[in-house]
Symmetry: C2
Subunit: 153 residues, 2 copies
């Protein structure tokens, strides 16, 4: 217990990070999906796919962290920690890519204006891209904190 890193698996900081990831990725998905023909644009479909992977991943880890914080502290097992670090890395790269793709396409649509992008729709694309960036940032933070643990295993 004495070498516990704040933000690594099973601490309350990690629980907060995971909750933030779940919240932002859900928000990004909803802003993008609801009543928008997002499948017309490759970048938007990609964002929806990545967020569809991100949400179950963060919710699972929210449950693990909540169990560890509130009920019983779970000791780190190297193999499980490796899987979690690898998953976090892959997802953080995917979500960075999705956020950048969405942001750049949105920017292009905003400049094109007119029928490509009615004002109400465009602000939703922008919100969705912002949420995706926040979700990337939190996921990157928790993968860094967990990486810190790796040498001690």
């Amino acid at each position: 217990m004495e070498d516990e890193v704040p933000g690594s698996m099973g601490t309350s900081a990690s629980l907060a990070l995971r909750l933030g990831q779940a919240f932002f990725s859900t928000a990004s998905l909803l802003f993008m999906c609801l009543r928008i023909d997002f499948y017309n644009y490759t970048a938007f479909s990609y964002l929806v796919t990545v967020m569809g992977l991100m949400i179950p991943w963060s919710l699972t880890l929210v449950m693990v962290d909540a169990y560890s914080v509130f009920i019983k502290y779970l000791p780190h097992q190297p193999r499980i920690l490796l899987v979690i670090i690898a998953g976090d890395w892959v997802l953080s790269f995917l979500s960075l890519a999705a956020a950048c793709a969405t942001a750049s396409v949105t920017d292009l649509l905003v400049e094109a204006g007119g029928s490509f992008c009615p004002a109400k729709l465009c602000s939703r694309f922008q919100l969705s891209a912002t949420m995706a960036f926040l979700s990337w940032f939190l996921s990157f933070a928790s993968s860094l904190f967990n990486l810190w643990l790796l040498p001690s295993l």
Copy 2:
């Protein structure tokens, strides 16, 4: 010398990685810049900016590695290694973001077709995005190899 990781600073594998980075980022920049009004699109300007940072960075490290391989082995200094790792990380994230943004905007332009994207221009955008992805991949690889060294310092 016995704990030298292949691909870390000062080895011939690292020299090859750096040469690849310099080559691909230069190619990406040239495909994007030459006789194209790239500054009409935010994503393309961003790509040009990032590649303009990436090229001097890789060329500097090419020189350091070449000196270390061919003339005299330089021992690792923790402080310099930290700067190099941090720089590699930042640049690899920036170049991933630039590559994704360029790829998604290019995809949108290809679908729009017509005057937005004459066939000859569009294939150059695609080549530029591909080169940027390759450059990201190599820069990510060398940052991982150098990260591996960090605990031994």
